[in-house]
Amino acid sequence: MKNTIATALALTMLTVSGMSVAAGTPQSKATVFTPPSEATIPDDEYGRTIRMGKNIFDDTQHYAKQYVGNSLNCVNCHLASGRKPDSAPLWGAYVRYPAYRTKNNKVNTLGQRIQGCFKFSMNGKAPAIDSPEMIALVTYAHWLSSGAPVGATLKGAGYPKLAKAAAAPDFIRGKTVYAENCQICHGVDGEGKIIDGKTVFPPLWGSTSFNWGAGMHRIDNAAAFIKANMPLSKGNTLTDQQAWDVATFVMSHERPQDPRFTGDVAQTKKEYHDEDCKYGDTVNGKVLGGSN
């Protein structure tokens, strides 16, 4: 009883500041947050920087060309201009940095985290922390998280982890899932679709996709993203097993080399790939990461 009242009170208080507490799910402690609408971007220098950040995010190929080494845009993995819950939205990210990352064994600021996505996900080079591009991206993320409590885990932040697959994830089954649910957009060879120089359907593997150091090459990350977001417009319709299988299939193809490559695949695997991934494994007679 006391508890209910306390919850109700907390709820009311949180709702006042534009938030409420989600109930029921294991994430029940997570705060529900709604980012501000675009119409409220102020018409001043702060507002112009926000818009620049959004432009870079949606069309990285154009607005941050010099830092990009593949055909992707940030929005391809963080949907709806970085707003969509369960696709590692920017508002969810902003309030959880600085944070410790095992990837480099350090506390990282949001800017450093974004540098990581440029280097690996965009197979490019990292803009400096004080570059106009980085300032714009961080400002955009800051604005999207307006009103969210610093340090909170917001509901829909990150990609929602999937429970372990019932049956060991399988390349062959994944191939069938891919042919039936993904190929129509992402192509027979995962090459995606580019029209008039614009990426319409992003490439999932091959030389124009993200590299072997990107978060998405991890099967657990990819399965989580795919389950929640793919096929486009039909998120959460695949079974968990299908998501694990198709993620395994997609992430068992060749892609650009890990920028941390030491010159030797086995050694690079040992140093950097103690994770749920296929780097350095032999698939269909070829060592992944070994052909570039």
Binding site: A80, E180, N181, V200, S233, T237
Partner: protein, 219 residues
């Protein structure tokens, strides 16, 4: 000697092909103008001489649509996956070959001159937002993510959605909602249609009918 032989061969093949191709196109043109005397009535009566359709009748434009897409639609009418009392008997009266020839013919036709339909500016702006950004709060991607910039289509599976009237676009979204049209790959368009509110359908179809026609990647 050998060269001459090859030349003759090429010439012969070319000559043999031209009448064949012309014949196929003649067949298509005849059906379009007069029907096939097997129950398929003249397409032109509803879809227009230039294949531009008819907004008032809710008849879609066919000229310049993708060939594979047209074939797929005629087969869907035949199989009943696309349920429509007008087109089903017509499609059933067409042979596989006639379907192929008609699809090739319409796909090769020049884009018809269709004037933008206009509309209330506020409604057009609302429609533009759905077409170019979607409504992700309700799980709706931008229409142009699948139908390409300007709605010009992405061959072969995603048709052009410009050059169609608001009435036709609205009728198709309703058909997906009701299940009368169930022929779309992976149920992609069904899932989008199911999430659109009546207001959104009105806004987006008004916007699309006001867009200029472009070929894009539709061919």
């Amino acid at each position: 000697m050998l060269k001459e032989h090859i030349l003759k061969h090429i010439l012969f093949t070319a000559m043999a092909c031209i009448p064949l191709m012309a014949q196929a196109d003649d067949v298509a043109q005849t059906i379009i103008n007069q029907g096939n005397k097997q129950g398929a009535v003249a397409c032109m009566a509803c879809h227009g001489i230039d294949g531009g359709g008819n907004a008032a009748g809710g008849f879609p434009r066919l000229a310049g649509l993708n060939q594979t897409y047209i074939t797929h639609q005629l087969q869907s009418f035949r199989s009943g996956k696309r349920n429509n009392p007008v087109m089903q008997p017509i499609a059933k009266a067409l042979s596989d070959t006639e379907i192929e020839q008609l699809a090739a013919h319409y796909a090769a036709m020049p884009l018809p001159a269709i004037a933008p339909a206009g509309g209330d500016p506020a409604l057009l702006r609302k429609g533009e937002a759905i077409a170019t950004e979607g409504d992700w709060d309700h799980g709706i991607p931008a229409c142009f993510q699948c139908h390409a910039a300007n709605g010009a289509g992405i061959a072969p599976d995603f048709p052009a959605i410009t050059g169609q009237s608001a009435a036709y676009i609205t009728s198709q979204i309703s058909a997906w909602k009701s299940g009368a049209r169930a022929n779309d790959p992976i149920g992609l368009m069904k899932s989008v249609a199911g999430k659109l509110s009546a207001d959104q359908v009105k806004a987006v179809s008004t916007y699309l009918a006001n867009q200029p026609l472009t070929i894009g990647n539709q061919k």
